[in-house]
C-alpha cells in the first residue's frame, strides 16, 4: 500500500519534470542550451494563475501559460539565434528576470504577498475518477492500481503521458524532427541543404515554450490553487539534470524524471521517519541525490553523456 502511495505521488511530482525535460529536449537537440526552463515554467505558472483568477477558466489559464512561456522562449531565441548571444547568459537572465517580475507583478496587481488569488475549483484542473474505480476498490491489487495509479489524476497528467510518445515521434519520425536533430549536430550541413538554421531553431524553441507552459499551468492550476512566489523551486534545473541524465533522449530522460520524482516522493515520506538498520536518513541527502547523480554521470564515472555536437555554439553563416 505504501508503495502505491509513493508511486502515485511519484507520478504527480514527475509530471512537471517530464514536461520541462521534453521542452529541454526540443531546444537542446536543436543546439540551444536551455537553462531557462525554470524561468519559462515560472512565467507560465504566473500567467496561468492570473488569467484563471480573472476569467475563472482553467483552459483560458492554460492558454495564457503557453503564450507567456512561448514569449519567453522567443526572447531567448532573439538573444541567442538572432543576436548570437551567449545561451547560458540569456537563459540565466530569463530565470532571474522572471523570478523578480512574477513576484513584483503579483504584489502590484493582487496585493496578497506575492501570490495570485486562491482559485475556486472551477478554475482548476481537478483529478478525474475513472468509471468503475469505486466498484473495483474491493478487488485486491487491481483495485488499487486502477483506482490510485491509473484513475484519479488531472487532465495535464494524462496529456503528459500522451506527450511522451508524441515528442519521440516528432523527433525521430518526422522531417521537422530530422532537421531539428541535424541542426543540433551539424548546422552547416543543414544550411547547405537549403534549410534555414535559424528557422528550425526558432520552431524548436516554440515547441519548448508550449511544453514549459503546460508544466507551469500544472503547478499553478492543478498542484496548487494559484501562483505562489518562486513556486518552481528548482524544478526546471532538476528537469535539465534529468535531460542530461537521460543523455538527451526522450525515453531515458522521462525515466530519469520518474526517478527524480520518486526521490522527491520518498524524501517527503522519510521526513522524520527512521529506517530499520539505517536509522534516520537525512532528508537533505535524498533531496540532493538528483544533483549528485547528475554530477557523477557527467563526470563519466557511470556511462558517458553525449551532448548534441553543436550545442551552445551560435550559428553564423560564413560571409
Amino acid at each position: 500500500m505504501a508503495a502505491v502511495v509513493v508511486l502515485d505521488s511519484t507520478l504527480r511530482l514527475a509530471t512537471p519534470l517530464i514536461l520541462a525535460a521534453l521542452a529541454g529536449l526540443f531546444s537542446e537537440r536543436s543546439g540551444i542550451i536551455d537553462i531557462g526552463l525554470e524561468g519559462k515554467m515560472l512565467g507560465a505558472a504566473f500567467a496561468a494563475g492570473c488569467v484563471a483568477a480573472v476569467t475563472g477558466s482553467a483552459w483560458v489559464g492554460l492558454t495564457a501559460a503557453m503564450a507567456a512561456s512561448v514569449l519567453l522562449a522567443l526572447l531567448h531565441g532573439y538573444a541567442c539565434i538572432t543576436h548570437r548571444g551567449n545561451q547560458v547568459v540569456s537563459g540565466l537572465a530569463i530565470n532571474i528576470l522572471v523570478s523578480g517580475l512574477t513576484a513584483f507583478l503579483a504584489v502590484a496587481w493582487f496585493a496578497q504577498g506575492g501570490r495570485t488569488p486562491q482559485l475556486p475549483d472551477a478554475a482548476r484542473f481537478l483529478s478525474m475518477d475513472w468509471p468503475g474505480a469505486g466498484v473495483l476498490e474491493a478487488v485486491p491489487f487491481v483495485g488499487v492500481v486502477y483506482g490510485e495509479l491509473l484513475s484519479g489524476h488531472n487532465v495535464i497528467v494524462y496529456l503528459t503521458w500522451l506527450a511522451v510518445p508524441a515528442v519521440a515521434l516528432v523527433l525521430y519520425r518526422t522531417r521537422f524532427g530530422l532537421r531539428l536533430r541535424a541542426v543540433g549536430e551539424n548546422p552547416f550541413a543543414v544550411d547547405t541543404a537549403g534549410v534555414s538554421v535559424a528557422g528550425v531553431r526558432y520552431r524548436a524553441l516554440v515547441c519548448a515554450g508550449v511544453l514549459c507552459g503546460l508544466a507551469g499551468a500544472y503547478l499553478a492550476l492543478a498542484q496548487s490553487a494559484g501562483f505562489l512566489r518562486d513556486m518552481t523551486a528548482g524544478k526546471g534545473y532538476i528537469a535539465l539534470a534529468a535531460l542530461i541524465f537521460g543523455n538527451w533522449r526522450p525515453v531515458p530522460a522521462v525515466l530519469a524524471c520518474l526517478l527524480f520524482g520518486c526521490l522527491d516522493a520518498v524524501s517527503i515520506r522519510l521526513q522524520g521517519a527512521s529506517l530499520p538498520g539505517l536509522g534516520e536518513v537525512p532528508v537533505q541527502l535524498v533531496q540532493a541525490l538528483p544533483y549528485v547523480l547528475t554530477v557523477v554521470l557527467l563526470a563519466g564515472f557511470v556511462g558517458r553523456g553525449v551532448p548534441p555536437k553543436a550545442i551552445g555554439v551560435p550559428y553564423a553563416k560564413e560571409g
Binding site: G85, L97, G100, A103, A108, L240, Q284, Y291, V295, L298
Partner: protein, 370 residues
C-alpha cells in the same frame, strides 16, 4: 591596443565598445525597468527619485549601499576571473555558502585566538572552503570534460542541502529550533567602519558597512595584478581567448581551468566574511541571498575588469539599498524590483551585448574609415 582600433567582434572602434555600448545596454535595461513600473501602475520618475534618495540621500544610506557593494565586489570579481579563462562560474552562490561554513567553523571553534590572529585564519578559511567547492567542478571540467555550467549549478543545490542539514542537525545549539549557530564571540566580529572612524575621532552615521570593504578593494587590486601582470594570468587569458592557441603555445588549458576556478571560488567564499563576520555574527541559512547571481550581472556590466566591477557593484548596492527605501515609500514596488533589474542587466549587458551594433555601425565605422 589603441582605443581607436576596431574591436575584433563587432568591428566598431574600441572606445565605443568599452564605453558607448555598455552605456546604451544599461539605458535599455533601465528603460525596460521603467516600463515594468508603469505596468504596476506607478510613476517611474518618482520611483527613480525615491531610489536615488534612498541609496545616497544620507550618510547612513551611503553606508548601506557600500555594505551591499562589498559583497557584490567579491562575487563580481569571482565571476570575472573565471570569465578571463573562458569559464562561466554560476556557482558563486554555493561557493559563498561553503566559504561561510569555513568562516563559521573558525569563528566558533578557534575563538580562543585574539582578533588579530583570528582574522587571517578566518579569511583563509573563507577562501579555502570557497576554493574547494569550486575546485571539484574545475577538476571535472579539466580532467573529465563535464560542462562547468551544469556542474556549478548542481553544486549550488548540493551546497544548500549540506548547509540545511548541518544547520538543522549539527551546528545549531542543543534545544534550539532555529537553523542557525550560536553567536560569534565579541572579538570574532569585524569592526564596523563607523566604529573605526569613531576611534579615530571622526563621527560618521552607523551602518553595517565594515572593514571587509578594505579586503574587497585589496582583492580588486590583486585580481588586476594577477590577470594582467603575472605569467599565470597571461596563460589564463590565452586559454580564455583561444584554447587551441594555448595548447600550441605550450599552455595546458586544464591546469589554467583549475587555477582560474580555484581563485574564483576563493573570491566568492570571501563574500561570507562581509555577511557573517560583519553583520550576522552567526551562521544562518541562506545568508548569501542570491548575491552570487548578482555577481554575474556585476561582472558583465563591469566587463570583467576590476575598474568596471567596483562602479557596477556600487550601482547594484544602490539598487539594493534604494530598493528597500522604495518598497517602504511605495508599497506597490517591492524589492523584487532589484531582481528584475539584475535580470535585465544580465540580458542586455550579457546576452544582447551586441544588439545595438548594427544600428551604430553606419555612424561609427564610416567615421573611423574617413
Amino acid at each position: 591596443m589603441s582605443v581607436t582600433a576596431p574591436d575584433p567582434v563587432s568591428g566598431l572602434p574600441r572606445w565605443s565598445v568599452l564605453g558607448l555600448l555598455p552605456g546604451l545596454n544599461l539605458l535599455a535595461a533601465f528603460a525596460a525597468c521603467g516600463l515594468i513600473v508603469l505596468l504596476a501602475g506607478e510613476d517611474p520618475w518618482q520611483a527613480v527619485q525615491v531610489l536615488v534618495g534612498g541609496a545616497f540621500g544620507s550618510g547612513e544610506a551611503v553606508g548601506y549601499t557600500l555594505f551591499y557593494a562589498t559583497s557584490f565586489i567579491f562575487t563580481g570579481l569571482a565571476v570575472a576571473v573565471a570569465f578571463q579563462c573562458g569559464l562561466f562560474n554560476i556557482g558563486g552562490e554555493g561557493q559563498a555558502l561553503i566559504g561561510g561554513l569555513g568562516v563559521a567553523l573558525v569563528c566558533l571553534h578557534l575563538d580562543v585566538l585574539p582578533f588579530l590572529l583570528l582574522l587571517p585564519v578566518a579569511i583563509a578559511a573563507a577562501a579555502l572552503f570557497g576554493a574547494a567547492w569550486a575546485f571539484v567542478p574545475a577538476v571535472l571540467q579539466a580532467r573529465r570534460g563535464s560542462h562547468i555550467v551544469i556542474t556549478t549549478i548542481m553544486f549550488n543545490f548540493i551546497a544548500t542541502s549540506i548547509m540545511v542539514y548541518l544547520l538543522v542537525n549539527v551546528m545549531s545549539p542543543a534545544g534550539s529550533m532555529q537553523p542557525e549557530t550560536r553567536a560569534f564571540a565579541e572579538h570574532a566580529r569585524l569592526p564596523y567602519v563607523h566604529e573605526v572612524a569613531g576611534a579615530l575621532g571622526w563621527e560618521i552615521p552607523s551602518s553595517p558597512l565594515n572593514v571587509s570593504l578594505v579586503l574587497a578593494l585589496l582583492c580588486c587590486a590583486g585580481a588586476w595584478l594577477f590577470v594582467w601582470h603575472t605569467r599565470a594570468g597571461y596563460r589564463t587569458r590565452v586559454v580564455g581567448a583561444s584554447p587551441a592557441a594555448a595548447v600550441f603555445g605550450g599552455i595546458s588549458p586544464g591546469t589554467q581551468v583549475l587555477v582560474a576556478m580555484t581563485l574564483s571560488g576563493a573570491l566568492a567564499g570571501c563574500m561570507s566574511l562581509n555577511e557573517l563576520m560583519g553583520v550576522q555574527h552567526r551562521l544562518v541559512l541562506e545568508f548569501t541571498g542570491g548575491f552570487g547571481f548578482v555577481g554575474i550581472a556585476v561582472a558583465l556590466m563591469g566587463r570583467g575588469h576590476p575598474a568596471g566591477i567596483v562602479p557596477a557593484a556600487v550601482l547594484f548596492g544602490a539598487l539594493y539599498q534604494g530598493g528597500a527605501e522604495l518598497a517602504f515609500e511605495i508599497p506597490a514596488i517591492t524589492r523584487d524590483m532589484v531582481v528584475i533589474m539584475q535580470g535585465l542587466v544580465i540580458l542586455f549587458a550579457g546576452a544582447l551585448e551586441y544588439m545595438f551594433v548594427p544600428a551604430l555601425r553606419p555612424f561609427l565605422v564610416r567615421r573611423a574609415v574617413d
